[in-house]
Every structure is written in C-alpha cells, then in structure tokens.
C-alpha cells in the first residue's frame, strides 16, 4: 500500500507544533499501524531526519501506552482495539491518514505524539486503592464470599488500561470514565467498601485539580474506549460522590 501520512510534529513541550506530510510506500496490509510507523521511522533515520516519537510498549493492547488520534478518532477507525492492534488492512491504498497526539490540557505534549499522562497517576495516588498493608496475615481469600455478579462487574471496570482515549475523545476532556472505572471496581467489592466515599471524593477532587473537564454525558468515551468500559460506571461513581457529599463521614 502507498499512503500519505500527515503527522503532528512538535520538538518539546514548549515548542509550537505543526502537521507535516510524509509519503510512504510499500506498506504491508498485514502490518500493524505501529509497524507502519516503524517503517516510516527507519526511512527517516536512514535519510538523516528526526524520527517521529510515539509511546508504545506491549503491542498487544494491554499496557495502555499507545495513544494516537488517527483520522479524528482515538486509536483509529476500528472498534475495541488500541492503536497497536489496529492493522493497515483497515485503510485503503492511496489514503491520506492524519495522526495527532491526545489533546487535553491535563495531557501536555512532550514530543510529537508523546503526551504526559502523569495526571492519571496522581488521581490514583489520591485514592485509587484499598488501604491494606502487605502482611501475609490478611484473612483467607475465601473468608468473604463475593457474589459472582459483583465480582464480574468489578472485573469489567478493572480492565481499564489507563490509555486516556476517553479524555482525548471527550469534547470537554473529562476523565470521568477513567476515574469512575476505578471507583466502581473498588466500591463493588467488600474489601473496597469501607473507604468508598472517601475514595470517590478524593479522586474527583484530584481530577478537577488536574484540569480535566466536566462530564456532559455525551457517551463518546464509551464508544472509543478500547476496552469497552461502560458508562454505567460514571452513574455509579456519581451515586458514591453524591452520597459522600451529603454525609459528614467522607
């Protein structure tokens, strides 16, 4: 396949970026999107030009590193996949492809397509855990049965990979889907229940502090989420948050 790539180039956080055009020839339809980027970068290096920086690691859709906004969609046109799982057979020969970084105030661009998502880590630091120390003396894992449905719902929420596609997709750059997935997972489990309100309050405060926008329930995040994290989590978090703000024990 022969393609034209229009890619956001930006030297560093302070620099002004711009879209640049790169023709690329002989792309195998069986290659992944990132392997196509490898091909481009090898050509750039051998020509003495600066290769395009992008985040990637596991290349099997689970680490959450890759983060490209392709033709106006987070992780590109396919559904339920990350960029690393997107294959070139989803594009047409001769097509022009636009590639940009995630855009959000809370995700500043470090270079080209690489953004800083440490705001997600700071939200986690504010409360995304169960306060239990390593001891080897916690109670037996089967001492508290957990209804299968709760365990399954908690698992579904817990499959969030923290890639930030929800933020990049949202017109308000809201992080509600990400935050609510963690709040839901732990609120659904008896182990996380005791500090559920406190957790919701602290994580939401940090989210606001980081500069993420408000949720206006457009549902775009759910559509673009590569892991199919459900909007129901946002509703569940709103309940936790509301009940925390109306009670004094938060």
């Amino acid at each position: 396949m022969d393609l034209t790539l229009k890619i956001w180039r930006q030297k560093n956080r302070e620099a002004k970026g711009e879209m640049k055009s790169y023709p690329i020839k002989g792309v195998s339809p069986d290659s992944s999107f990132l392997e196509m980027m490898d091909l481009l970068n090898n050509e750039l290096i051998e020509k003495g030009e600066d290769p395009v920086a992008f985040d990637h690691d596991c290349r099997e859709g689970i680490c959450g590193s890759c983060s490209m906004y392709i033709n106006g969609e987070a992780h590109g046109p396919d559904r339920m996949v990350t960029t690393c799982q997107l294959h070139m057979r989803k594009f047409k020969d001769g097509e022009t492809i636009h590639i940009e970084p995630w855009r959000a105030n809370a995700f500043p661009v470090e270079k080209d397509l690489v953004v800083d998502r440490s705001s997600f880590d700071r939200i986690m630091n504010a409360g995304g855990f169960v306060s239990v120390n390593t001891s080897g003396n916690t109670q037996d894992a089967n001492a508290t049965p957990i209804p299968k449905e709760d365990a399954d719902n908690a698992f579904d929420a817990a499959t969030c990979i923290g890639c930030g596609a929800c933020v990049a997709t949202c017109k308000n750059a809201s992080a509600m889907l990400f935050v609510s997935a963690k709040v839901s997972q732990l609120a659904l489990l008896p182990q996380g229940r005791p500090e559920a309100k406190r957790r919701a309050t602290h994580m939401v405060e940090q989210m606001d502090h980081e500069g993420f926008g408000n949720c206006t329930n457009t549902g775009a995040c759910e559509v673009e989420c590569p892991k199919g994290i459900s909007l129901e989590n946002i509703a569940r978090m709103n309940r936790e948050y509301l009940s925390a703000s109306m009670s004094s024990d938060s």
Partner: protein, 667 residues
C-alpha cells in the same frame, strides 16, 4: 576465588524459611526512616517490593522507563497465578507445588528457594483479594480455579485472560497509596544506566531522565533490580518493545554474576510471523491446548497446495493429517509441556511441513472440540436429531464463551476466522529462566544489590511452568525481600544519607555520559533496528529451540562481528538532550549484543539437554531431551571480566535432598 555462597539456612526444608525469618536481623521502625532503597522496575516484583518496603517505613525511590508504573510488561500475562490453596480438595499442598515446580524446571532450580515460593504462594492470593483484585469466582461467591500444563491439580487462580493486568494493577494501587503518602518517590520515564558501588557495596544508580535527557545521580543504602527478562535479545519475542537487559547487564558488569543465561522459554502457541515488517509476536494462551488439536498435513504436495492457496486445511480428510503430538506422545498428547511442544513443531517445520508462506506455522484446530461441545449442548438442551450445522453452531457458542477474547485477538491480527478454519501457531521466545545469580536472601554477588522476579534465576530451573511467573514476582516482592533486606540494612542504621558527590558517583556518571555521546556522535549508516534484527536472527537460528556445538561457535563469532559493526556503523539521530527513543534503543541493543554472546557461550558449555535448553548432541534415540545429572547438576554463574568471551564460570552445585532426580517422560 569462588564467592558463591547461596546462604541456604540449615534444617529440614519445610522449616528453613520460618527459622530464617526468626533468626535474621530486623531494623526497628524508627531506624527504617533513616534508610533509602532504590527499586528499579515496577512490574509485579518491583511494584510489590516498592509498596511493601514503603509500608514498612523505608524511603523508597522507584524507577521505570515507561510513562507510568502501571505499564510494566507483567500486565500482559494472560493465564493465571498458581497457589497451593487446595480449595478444590484435589490433594494440593505446599509440597506438591514445590515438587511440580522442581520437576517442571527439569531439576535445575534451587530446592530451598522453590520450597519457600510454594510456602508463601497462598499468602499472595489472600493479599491480592484484600487489595481488591477481582479474581474469577463461581456462583457461590468463592474463588474459581483452572488447570495448567505439567501438573495434576487445579491450583491456578485467574481473572479471565487478564490475570497479569489485575495483579499488576493491585501492586500499582498499593504503590500509589505510598506515593500519595510520600513514602515512595516515583521516577517515571527514567532509565537506570549504571549501578554505583562505594566500598564494594551498591549505594546508588545513574539514571537518565528520558524526557529531559538529564543524567541524574541517585543514592540509597540498597539497590533492588526488578527489571524483568531478556527475551528481546531475539528481536522478536512476546516481550514488550521496551523490555531489556540493561539494568541487569550493568550490575553484571559491576560484579553481579549472571546465571544460566541460556535457559529460555520458547512458548509453543504464538501467532506466527507474517513478514519482515513484524515488530513483535503475540502469545495465544496455553489454555487453548486443552481443546485444540495440533497438526500438519501428512503429504508434502498438500503442504505446497495450501501454501499456494489452492487447498484449504478444512478440505483435508482425517487420514491426511498428521496429529504429530498425539502420534509421538500418546499419554499427554496436545498437553505436553511447553518445551516439548515447541521442539515438535520445529521438527515438523524443519522437515518442510510448515503451513504458511514462511514455512513456520502449524495448525491448532478446534473443529473436534466444537463438534464435541455442540453434541453435549444439544443433549443438554434436549434437541433431538440435530444437524451437523446446528451442532457446529452450538459448539462454536461454547468455545466462544471459553476463549472468545483470544479468538477475537487472533482474528484482528491474522484476518482469519478461527471458528471456521484452524488457527496457525508457531513457537516464540516468551520468558527467560536465567538471570542474575542471587543467594537465598535474593542478594546478588554485589553486596547490597538485590534481584527479584524474572530478573533473577533461582526458582524455575531450566523450564518454567505456566502461571508460575506471576507467583514468583509477587512472592519475591511482597513476602521475601521485605524480610531478607532487613538483615543487611540492620548494619546501616548509623550510616546516614549516602552522598552523591563521592568520586564513585562522579566517575560512574562520566562513563554513562561518554557512552551516550559515543552513540550519538557515531553518525553511521544503519539504524539500531538493523543490528538488532541481525542479532535476533543469529540467536533464533543458532541459539534457539535446538542448539549444537558448531552452530553455537558460529553464533559467538557472528555476534562478535555484529557488535563490532554496531559500534562502527550505528546511526542514532537527534541529541542526548531531550526525548530520544532511538538513543534509548541503542543503549539497550548495545547490551543485548554483549549478553547474546554470553548466552551462546553458556549454551555451548552446557553439553546436555534440560528444559528449554536442547543440545542436539544430547538426546535419546527417540529424539527426546537427555539430561546429564552427573556432570551438569549445577548453576552456571558467570563473572564478568572485560569481554563476554572471557567470562569466568562459577558453579553452584545443586543438591536435591527432598526430591529424587528423574528423566522426564510424557509418552
């Protein structure tokens, strides 16, 4: 000269760990606040160690090269984690888990370490559930288990196909709590480029801030390496793109012995390579071998017709197919251990029976299972005289419920529907059992420097059983190191903060900077990948699934040559200042080019077949692996002396007091 004291406690194996914990020194809580510990890597081992040490009161500095500690490659583990809980009442016990692990490792692991691993395994499950890890449960609300290869009990805990993700996020959340409290200082996008020794003790590291490019000195009273395995020396593997040997290799060059580098696990069920563009390989969980039958055509002309696209595999009749695992191993069939299944696939493909363009693929066929499940379902649903089509549809539904996410992943990558046509699979490099030599306390041969998880060598011998890597990473980080490190640090309570202005730090920083500048200023003609791919090809062809003396000697010479060319001709664009992924890769490949040679040297020295290491000179008449316990029942620990070819071998003899050594048989 030899300094290999494994420090295994005296006494019966079942009492060693408890006794040891009671006898070693501890640091009192007030003094822990005076002690700094560096943890490099934030996977299951590093994440759990950092969190636990911080909870205990130490000041932890944690480093990862990814943009968040949550992205370490432990996250990609699919199948599960073993623990001797005996919830299924199938007679499981600490001893049985210990026995299976030693046998599965082909009797090349250290008994005392493996026993301790089995002993703490149950605590891991308790700890993870307490953290909110959503393991699979049955309708009664209790934890569910599945079976894995090489064992006779059901002891694997899981969270669908994302067990590694859930366990890692558990460790990451424990870390997050301590980061929030200021007890862990987290350094994201930082890469360790050397360890600093002061008076023979590990006292810090030199790290590069990958965003600013700044070279930083960090000091501590102890350094803990949890940087994972080195499978990417093969270029193509199931490892993440960034997985590397650099931290382990740097401590090796400063005095940590590297043990059994040739022990590599080649996983039998991965999606085959489709062409030269390929950057990595994707695993398909071992659990698929429960229901899939592996075969290639019996006749060469059918192979040719399939490759030419003139024949479909579904058109071949039963008697035209060679179910070679069922043929060679009637007792275990498609469920032989990983090393055996991988070699058998290679044997058929080498003989010319590979079924895709590259000639390196065999079929994993679910049609028998689909029909079998379909018939069962029809009976359960009370459907009489169901047609084959109806049965097939019912069966596909059952298979989808079991393996749906894997089938979807396969279809996305290969663009074929595995419900309708057999999957194609081929072995790929997956895990490295070898690693930094450690004693019972997980201390390397550098005082104050520890290695945990896949980065060390001790628990899996020459072959790792499925669902044991997650167990080992968390055991080391949650339950072993937090105790054993106190024994060493108890002598450091009066040391005070370690200065970063000592000559040792200055010198180490200078060496790191010089190396980086050398790479940038080289201005050669070829990219880093060009050399990495060449190295990978030599490793795969000559140091891969089957090895022989001639090939290994050639490999050593070829790797030396590639390394020479790399330093003369590599082109690294950009500058040392600022984000430069090519520079990061260059440093890692430079280390792989040294490790690769030691790897081949170790494989050459070990003239026996054991676990994942198959020497063609050492096999039975039927072509099975043949161990030589009289000559090779030892750990090969290599000391760095300047060049990989000059590495000095130290042997730790392995004693098996509690298990009888036997030749494995799966016939």
């Amino acid at each position: 000269m030899t300094k290999l004291d494994a420090k295994i406690p005296e006494g019966p194996i079942a009492e060693k760990w408890t006794k040891h914990k009671n006898e070693i020194n501890v640091v009192n809580p007030a003094n822990k606040r005076l002690i700094d510990i560096i943890v490099v890597g934030t996977g299951l081992a590093g994440g759990s160690a950092a969190a636990s040490l911080a909870e205990m009161g130490y000041n932890v500095k944690a480093f990862c090269f990814q943009d968040s500690p949550r992205r370490a490659h432990s996250i990609a583990a699919q199948g599960g984690i073993n623990a001797a809980k005996n919830y299924q009442n199938d007679g499981d016990s600490t001893y049985r888990l210990f026995y299976d692990t030693v046998k599965g490792g082909d009797y090349r692991s250290r008994e005392a370490n493996v026993y301790r691993l089995a002993e703490v395994s149950a605590n891991i499950i308790d700890q993870c559930v307490a953290q909110g890890v959503p393991f699979a449960r049955d309708y009664g609300g209790l934890l569910d288990n599945r079976s894995f290869g090489g064992v006779l009990v059901s002891r694997t805990f899981y969270a669908k196909g994302q067990t590694g993700q859930q366990l890692l996020l558990g460790a990451y959340s424990a870390m997050s709590r301590q980061i929030g409290k200021g007890k862990i200082k987290m350094y994201n996008r930082h890469e360790m480029l050397d360890v600093v020794k002061v008076d023979g003790k590990a006292r810090g590291i030199i790290a590069r801030d990958l965003v600013s490019g700044k070279i930083e000195r960090h000091s501590a009273h102890a350094v803990v390496i949890c940087s994972g395995g080195y499978g990417n020396v093969f270029f193509l593997s199931t490892n993440a793109m960034g997985s590397n040997v650099t931290a382990a290799w740097k401590i090796h060059k400063k005095g940590a012995y590297f043990a059994n580098p040739c022990y590599t696990q080649i996983h039998p069920t991965c999606i085959p390579r489709s062409g030269d563009h390929q950057s990595k390989l994707t695993l398909m969980s071992e659990s698929l071998r429960n229901d899939g039958r592996i075969w290639v055509p019996k006749k060469k002309e059918d192979v040719d017709a399939i490759r030419a696209g003139k024949l479909k595999p579904t058109q071949l009749k039963e008697d035209e197919r060679d179910y070679y695992l069922e043929r060679r191993y009637p007792a275990f069939g498609n469920l032989v251990p990983r090393d055996v299944a991988s070699r058998a696939a290679k044997e058929r493909c080498d003989a010319g029976f590979g079924v895709n363009k590259t000639g390196e693929a065999v079929y994993l066929d679910f049609s028998s299972a689909i029909m079998r499940y379909g018939k069962e379902k029809a009976t359960v649903d009370g459907i009489e005289n169901a047609s084959d089509k109806e049965i097939r549809e019912l069966g596909e539904g059952v298979v989808e419920a079991k393996y749906g996410n894997l089938f979807q992943m396969y279809e996305k990558i290969v663009d074929e529907n595995p419900y309708k046509t057999p999957m194609m699979i081929y072995p790929a490099v997956h895990y490295t059992m070898g690693g930094i030599w450690v004693d019972y306390n997980l201390m390397t041969s550098i005082e104050g420097c520890y290695a945990l998880g896949e980065a060390n060598f001790s628990d899996h011998g020459a072959n790792r059983l499925g669902a044991s890597a997650l167990m080992q990473g968390l055991a080391d980080g949650y339950f072993v190191l937090p105790y054993t490190i106190g024994d060493y640090l108890a002598n450091d309570i009066r040391t005070g903060p370690i200065s970063i202005d000592s000559p040792e730090f200055v010198e180490a920083e200078k060496v790191v900077k010089d190396d980086l500048n050398k790479l940038i200023n080289n201005k050669g003609t070829h990219s880093v990948d060009y050399f990495h791919k060449r190295l990978g090809k030599v490793m795969w062809d000559k140091v891969g699934m089957a090895r022989n003396e001639k090939g290994l000697k050639e490999a050593i010479a070829e790797i030396q040559q590639i390394r020479k060319e790399f330093w003369e001709d590599v082109r690294v664009p950009g500058s040392v200042d600022g984000l430069n992924p090519e520079l990061e890769k260059a440093g890692r490949v430079a280390d792989f080019l040294e490790l690769g040679e030691l790897f081949a040297k170790d494989a050459l020295e070990r003239n026996e077949s054991c676990g994942g290491h198959f020497r063609e000179e050492s096999q039975t008449e039927e072509g099975e692996a043949l161990r030589h316990d009289d000559q090779y029942a030892y750990v090969a620990a290599w000391e760095y002396t300047g060049e990989p070819k000059d590495a000095v071998l130290h042997k730790e003899e392995l004693e098996f007091k509690d298990i009888e050594l036997k030749q494995r048989s799966y016939k």
